[in-house]
C-alpha cells in the first residue's frame, strides 16, 4: 500500500508538471489561469497523499484551505470593477 501511495504521488507530480508546461507557454491569460487551477487540484491531491505517506493528519486541513480558496483567484482574475462617477 505504501508503495502505491509513493508511486501515486509521483504520478500526480508528473501531471502537475504537464500543467506547468501549459502555464509557462500560455498562450492566453485564460489558458494560464486554467493551468493554475489544474496545479491547484493536483496540489490538493498531493497534499492528501502526503498526509498518509508522512503520517501528518493536519495536511488534510491544508488541502481543505487550498480547495476552499481555489475559486478566489479566478474571481479576482475575471472580476470587473464599477465605473466611478466622481
Amino acid at each position: 500500500m505504501s508503495d502505491l501511495l509513493s508511486l501515486s504521488v509521483l504520478i500526480l507530480m508528473f501531471s502537475l508538471l504537464l500543467g506547468l508546461l501549459r502555464i509557462l507557454y500560455g498562450p492566453g491569460a485564460g489558458d494560464r489561469m486554467l493551468a493554475a487551477q489544474l496545479i491547484g487540484t493536483a496540489g490538493v491531491g498531493i497534499l492528501l497523499l502526503l498526509s498518509l505517506i508522512l503520517d501528518q493528519r493536519s495536511l488534510i486541513d491544508v488541502a481543505l484551505i487550498l480547495a476552499l480558496l481555489a475559486a478566489v483567484a479566478a474571481a479576482a482574475f475575471t472580476g470587473q470593477r464599477q465605473i466611478r462617477h466622481d
Partner: protein, 325 residues
C-alpha cells in the same frame, strides 16, 4: 523505495518551484507574472507540507496561494486601466546598450556569488555545531506554556513580545495604506453562479477560521491561519460585489484593526498589575489568556488583510448608504 521516490518527488517539486519563480520574474507582462506567482505560492505550500511544517503550510495555502494572488491581480487591474504607464523602450544607442549589458551581467554574477556564499555558509553551519538548543528548550517548557502545539507556544508564550510587535507592524502597514489614498472602485455584482458559490463558501470559511483558531492550541493552526481564512471570506464577499459586507464600517473598522495590539497590551498590563512580568502568564491561566489574545489577533489580522485588498481608505459614500450588516 519510499525514500528514493520521495527524493525524486522533492527534485521535481523544487524544479517546478524554481522554474515558476524564474518565469514569473522573466516576463514583462504583469498579469502573466502574477498568475505564475500564484502557482509558485501554491507549490510552496506543498513544499512546507513536505518538510513537516503544517503550520506554515496552512498560512501559505491561505495567503500565498489565495490572498496575495487576489491582492496582486487587483493591482494589475488598476494598472491596465491606465494605458499611459506602458513604458516605451526608447531606441538606445550602441554604447548605452553595452553599458546596460555590462550592468546586467555584473548584477547576475554578484547574485550568483551570493547564492554560492550562502550555500557555503550553510555547509559550514550544518557541520560545525550541535544545534537544537532552542528546540530542546521549547519542548522542555511546553507543558507550562498552556498549549501543546509548539509553534503556538513559541508565538504566543515564549516569544509573545515578537508577536505583539508583529501585530503592530501590521497595524502600521494598514495605516500607511489608508494614508495613501481612497479605496479602489468596488467590484460589479457577480453573476448568479459566483453569487451562488459565495452563499455557502463564506459560512464555510468563517467556520473553518473558528476551527483553526480553536485547534491551534494542540494541533497545527492558530491566529494567523484563522485570520487569513476569515480574511478570505471577506475578500470573497468583496469580489462578489457586496461592498457593504466583508469589512465593518467606520469606527468599528478602526477598533477591529487595533484590537489585536490592544488585547495583547491589556493582558500584558493586567499581568503587570497583579505583580507578574509583562506577558508572563501564570501556568493555570496561560491557555485561556492565549485563546483570548488569539481571538483578538484573528479579528485584527482578518480586518488588516481585507483592508489591504480593498487598497485604501474605505469609501465614505459606501459607509453612509450601507445598511448595517
Amino acid at each position: 523505495m519510499n525514500t528514493a521516490s520521495l527524493i525524486v518527488f522533492d527534485g521535481l517539486l523544487l524544479i517546478s518551484i524554481v522554474s515558476l519563480a524564474w518565469a514569473a520574474l522573466a516576463t514583462t507582462d504583469a498579469r502573466r507574472s502574477v498568475i505564475l506567482f500564484m502557482a509558485f505560492g501554491l507549490l510552496l505550500a506543498v513544499a512546507w507540507a513536505r518538510l513537516l511544517a503544517p503550520d506554515v503550510a496552512l498560512a501559505e495555502a491561505a495567503i500565498g496561494a489565495g490572498l496575495s494572488g487576489a491582492l496582486l491581480l487587483a493591482a494589475t487591474n488598476d494598472h491596465s486601466r491606465q494605458p499611459a504607464t506602458a513604458q516605451t523602450e526608447t531606441t538606445r544607442t550602441e554604447p548605452d546598450r553595452r553599458v546596460g549589458m555590462a550592468i546586467q551581467w555584473t548584477v547576475t554574477l554578484l547574485c550568483a556569488a551570493l547564492a554560492v556564499a550562502l550555500a557555503w555558509a550553510l555547509a559550514y553551519a550544518f557541520d560545525s555545531t550541535a544545534k537544537d538548543t532552542l528546540a530542546r528548550a521549547v519542548s522542555a517548557h511546553l507543558d507550562v506554556s498552556g498549549v501543546s502545539n509548539p509553534v503556538t507556544a513559541v508565538l504566543l508564550n515564549f516569544r509573545a513580545y515578537d508577536t505583539l510587535l508583529e501585530l503592530a507592524v501590521l497595524l502600521t502597514a494598514v495605516l500607511g495604506i489608508f494614508a495613501l489614498g481612497p479605496a479602489r472602485a468596488d467590484y460589479q455584482e457577480a453573476g448568479p453562479i459566483f453569487d451562488g458559490l459565495t452563499h455557502w463558501l463564506v459560512p464555510v470559511l468563517i467556520l473553518m477560521a473558528g476551527y483553526l483558531l480553536w485547534v491551534g492550541a494542540h494541533a497545527p493552526g492558530g491566529a494567523f491561519q484563522a485570520g487569513a481564512t476569515l480574511a478570505a471570506a471577506g475578500i470573497v464577499l468583496r469580489l462578489a460585489g457586496r461592498h457593504h459586507f466583508g469589512l465593518p464600517a467606520g469606527s468599528t473598522l478602526r477598533i477591529t484593526l487595533a484590537v489585536g495590539v490592544g488585547m495583547f497590551l491589556l493582558v500584558g498590563l493586567a499581568l503587570l498589575a497583579v505583580g507578574r512580568p509583562f506577558l508572563g502568564y501564570p501556568t493555570a491561566w496561560a491557555g485561556i489568556l492565549i485563546l483570548l489574545i488569539e481571538s483578538a489577533a484573528m479579528l485584527a489580522i482578518a480586518a488588516t488583510l481585507v483592508s489591504a485588498f480593498v487598497g485604501g481608505r474605505p469609501n465614505p459614500i459606501a459607509i453612509n448608504t450601507g445598511e448595517k450588516p
